[in-house]
Structure formats: C-alpha cells, structure tokens
C-alpha cells in the first residue's frame, strides 16, 4: 500500500490559511481557559489571527492536493477574501458587543475561526466528502454561536431553531449525496463530471430525486424561498454580529460549492428540468423576500427577508454556469458581506435589552445624534437597494446583465422589478434616520473603537467597489475562467 501520493509537495502551503485559523482558535480557547482574567484581550488577539490568515494567503500554493480532493485556485482565493473579510468585520463588531453584554470569551472567536475554516473547505473541496465536512464544521460552529448569549431565551431559541432546521437539511443533503454516489460511482467532483459528460448517460428518476434532495438541503442553508422560514426568527434571536455574519459568509460558501456541483453536472443539465427547479426557487425568494420585508418593523427581521431576496438574485446567476456568472457571484458576495455586516453592525450597537426586538423606532432621528453611525447605516441601505455609486449597484447590475446574456430575460426582469420594489423598505430606514424625530427614551448607540473601525471598512469598501470596480472584475473573471477551463 502506498500512501505518499496523498501528500503532494507544498501541501502545507495549500492549507496555510486554514492552519492559521485552526491553531489560532485552539490557542484562543486555551488562553481563555488558563487566563480567565485576561479575557478582554481575546478580541484583539482574534483580529490579529484573522489578519495573519489574510497575510498567509500570499504563500498559498495553487493546484490540486490530497489525492485530488482539495483544489486551491484563483476563485477559492477570491472567496477566501469574502470569508476572511466577514470574519474580521464580525470580530471587530463582536469585541464591543460581547463586552457590553458581559459574555466575552475566547470560544466565541475560536468558533468564528473554525466556522471560517469550514467555509474554506466548502469552497476548496473537490470531493463531496470535503464539502460536507466543511458544511458540518460550519453548521456546528453556527449552532453554538447563535446560542452564545445562553442566559437569553431568544438566543437559545434561535440556536434551537437553527439546529433543528440545520440538522434536517444536513440529512437531506447527505441522502442526496449518497444517491449521487450510487449513480455516478464516485464522490469526487471531477470523476462525477466525467460521468455526466458521457454522451449516453441516462437521467434516471433516482438522479432527479437526488438532485431535489440536494437542492432542498442547500436551499435550507441558503434560506431560499420555500425553505426560508427559519431565517427571520434566527436572525432576530441571535447575537447581532453573529446574525450579520450568518447572513453573509455561509451563503457565499454554499454558493461556491453549488457552482462546483452544477458545473460538474453541466453536460446533462439541458436534458433535465433541474434548472427549472432552481429558477423557481430564485423567483420565489425574490418575490417573498422583498414583499414580506416591507411589512417588517424589526430591523433584523427586515434584513433577514432582504437577505432571502438577495440570495434570490445570486441564484439567478447560477442558472447558467459560465465565467461571467461565477465572477458576478464572487463579486456580489464580497459586496454583500460589506453592506450587510455594516448594517447589522449599526444595529448591534443599539444599547438595549437584547431580548427585545430592535425596531425602526430605535433608530429614529439617529442622523442628528450620531452622524457617523447613521451615515454608515444609510450607505449600507443605499448599497443594498442597489443605487449608484455604491458597490451594491455595480454587483447587482453585473448579475442581471449576466442573466440577460445567458437568456434568462424573464427572470432577470422579475429580479429588477422586485429590486425596485425593495428600494421602498431600504430607504424607509434612511427616512427614519434623518426625517423622524427621535422618540421618547431614545435608544443609545454604544460603539467602541473596534466597531467604528468595522463600519469604516464597510463604507470605504462599498464606495471603492462602487466607483472603481475594474480591478476586482478582472481578477474575478480570470479566476472564474481558470475554474471553468478544466
């Protein structure tokens, strides 16, 4: 028996960012356990570890590793940016938030890091086993993070709901995977792609069942429309920075994993109705997400429904996997991370009992009391609604243009119409910020240096991508080209 081929040269360079985060997380929990007095230091240490991880991307070796199960390439590096960015923003926002709530702990950041490792595994996995292991690592970290305010009933309830839904969805994904394994005789995505590329492959009902199960499971994780009801409840109950992180990063990881799977299935997709299912999920998400968001007064619930709609837009690009589609999804996730975490960041600074909902009334008149924080929220809202010159406009434009070019004009039209409707509820937030008188017993905004830094990163990033998107577009297109060239 020969084991050496499993370890290629430079394997350690291939997983360097993951290693940094794994070891960093372990260091943090041990630091927390052995030096409970220095607990407030864990936040800054976590930021340093995340920056180390971003820096270690420079040494990453490109190629296929571990016996063809792990692929590092341009597109995984683009998605790594999203994951690390979301991790850093969430860490910065949490440092102050946890301090205020009195629940500081190294475990929080450690779980955030391990969750990020899970997402990196999902993005880089070239084997369904790796993708599912990454997904599970991520899910288990999320279960704990959601319930981190364990004295708060809502936090526990959010954790419970996500656990039930998540475990349920995992069952579906695994069952679908098992059926795919039986049909295509391998769990390796490249081998599956060769099997699907065979011209006399027949689409058995078994394969369709497998696909439906897989899409149902991933639909749960993405909060796509018929599978979305957990999202508002979970976001409302979760610690706010975690809710922001949850609404961004795991979706990006799931999308890149789905891109790989869809790309492998590419040759058979025209003869099946599978993409019609995905198209319906996208349409339902956009319509339900945008229309229900209008009725929400709770900010976190509103952002949850807006997130459902945003995933709907991203799913449009998935309908035809080509270079532009992959690149537009990559850019959309980066911009989405910036704007959504920025919005959740401002909400996380509302100093009130976290068991109560944070509603529009809490931010009334904020524009005159705390100009910087109000500006940050307003910029994020403009970007989410897709108005120029923000990054949200650029990425949304790119998504819809890709969809039209691939011949999905009808769906793109629904996307554009619903996204125009969405401007109403995004700008209502801005209206409350600047046009409303602040109510009696106004809610204080409590933000330290870290959280303010996170908001600054968001604003700068949104405008940078909005005004000068070309370099990012070129990088993403080239990375997508390399991914699909195989």
């Amino acid at each position: 028996m020969n084991l050496t081929p499993l370890l290629e040269a430079h394997w350690i360079n291939a997983i360097l960012p993951e290693l940094v985060l794994c070891i960093g997380g372990m260091f943090l929990i041990l630091f927390d356990a052995f030096a409970p007095k220095a607990r407030s230091l864990t936040g800054p240490i976590a930021v340093v570890i995340f920056i180390l991880c971003a820096w270690s991307q420079r040494f990453v070796a490109v190629g296929t590793f571990f016996g063809g199960t792990y692929e590092v390439g341009g597109i995984t590096r683009v998605f790594d940016i999203t994951f690390v960015l979301a991790g850093i923003l969430c860490t910065l926002l949490s440092a102050d938030y946890l301090e205020r709530e009195g629940i500081t702990g190294g475990e929080f950041y450690a779980l955030l890091m391990w969750g990020t490792v899970g997402m990196m595994m999902m993005a880089k996995g070239l084997d369904l086993l790796i993708i599912i292991l990454g997904l599970e690592l991520l899910s288990i970290c999320i279960f704990v993070l959601l319930g981190f305010q364990r004295r708060l009933p809502v936090s526990n309830e959010a954790s419970l709901k996500y656990f039930l839904m998540g475990a349920f969805a995992t069952g579906f994904i695994l069952y679908g995977t098992a059926l795919f394994y039986g049909a295509t005789e391998s769990t390796n995505i490249n081998v599956m792609a060769r099997w699907f590329a065979n011209p006399d492959v027949t689409i058995t009902p078994l394969l369709t069942v497998a696909f439906v199960l897989l899409m149902a499971g991933f639909g749960f994780k993405l909060a796509l429309a018929p599978f979305h009801p957990w999202a508002p409840d979970v976001y409302q109950g979760a610690p706010t920075p975690v809710a922001g992180w949850l609404s961004v990063a795991p979706k990006a990881a799931t999308l890149i994993a789905l891109i790989r799977i869809f790309h492998a299935m590419g040759p058979v997709l025209p003869q099946t109705k599978w993409m019609t299912i995905v198209a319906w999920l996208a349409v339902l998400s956009m319509i339900i997400g945008n229309s229900v968001a209008i009725a929400q007064r709770d900010l976190k619930r509103m952002l949850a429904y807006s997130g459902i709609a945003q995933v709907g837009y991203m799913t449009i690009a998935m309908l035809t996997i080509n270079e532009d589609a992959v690149a537009s999804i990559a850019i959309y996730t980066i911009v989405y991370a910036l704007m959504n975490l920025g919005a959740f960041g401002v909400i996380s600074m509302l100093a009130k009992n976290q068991n109560d909902p944070q509603t529009l009334d809490d931010i009334a008149g904020l524009g005159w009391r705390r100009p910087f924080h109000a500006l940050a929220l307003a910029v994020c809202m403009f970007s989410l609604s897709g108005l120029p010159p923000t990054g949200g406009f650029v990425s949304k434009f790119y998504i819809f243009r890709t969809a039209v070019q691939s011949g999905h004009t009808g769906i793109a039209l629904i996307g554009i119409i619903t996204s125009i409707a969405s401007v109403y509820y995004y700008l209502r937030v801005v209206y409350y910020l600047y046009m409303k008188e602040s109510a009696e017993g106004q809610t204080r905004i409590d933000g330290g240096i870290f959280a303010t830094g996170a908001l600054a990163i968001s604003i700068i990033g949104i405008f940078l991508i909005g005004i000068w998107p070309t370099p990012l577009f070129h990088a993403a297109s080239y990375a997508a080209h390399l991914l699909l060239a195989r």
Partner: protein
C-alpha cells in the same frame, strides 16, 4: 446478500421514519433521535452502494458521517440542556418567543 433495491428501500423507510418523527414529535430528545435515524439511513445507503460498486469511498464517507452525527448530537444535547435550564421543559413548542 439482498439486492441493492432492498437496501435502498430499507434506508428509504428509515429515512422517512426519521423525517416524520422530526416533524410530528415535540420532545426534543425524540427529535434528536429521529435526526440520528435520518443520518443512519444515509449510512446504510452509502455502505450498500459501496458494496455494490466495490469502492471504499462510501465506507470512508460513513465513518465521517458517524462522527459528524455525534458532534451534532452533542451540540444538540447542549442546546437542550440550556433550554431546560431556561424553561424547565424540553418541549419544542415551549420555544415560541420569536414569531412573525
């Protein structure tokens, strides 16, 4: 050795039992057990396919699923303990503060 169809039916049945259990049962521990049942149905499937195809991938997959399921069960138990401490009950319907 039964045909692959028989194994698929067995796993399909177990999966359905787990699925229905998750939906209709209200006791958290039972729900947890039903989720485990769903994952074990997947394991049967994988091992059956692995046997038929003569490839080891399915069995490796199974070992990982077993451990993943254990991790999930442990976190689930932790959530249930916390639910019990907060509400002195492990009925899923007790958790209904978030509604919209």
């Amino acid at each position: 050795m039964p045909e692959i169809d028989a194994w698929l039916m067995l796993s399909g049945t177990i999966f359905t039992v787990g699925l229905v259990g998750v939906i209709i049962r209200r006791n958290m521990i039972t729900v947890l057990m039903c989720i485990e049942l769903m994952l074990n149905a997947v394991n049967i499937n994988l091992v059956a396919f692995s046997h038929r195809l003569g490839s080891l991938e399915g069995q490796v997959f199974t070992i990982f699923i077993i451990t993943v399921a254990a991790g999930e069960a442990a976190v689930g138990l932790a959530i249930i303990i916390q639910l019990y401490r907060l509400r002195s009950s492990i009925n899923v319907d007790e958790a209904r503060e978030l509604n919209g």
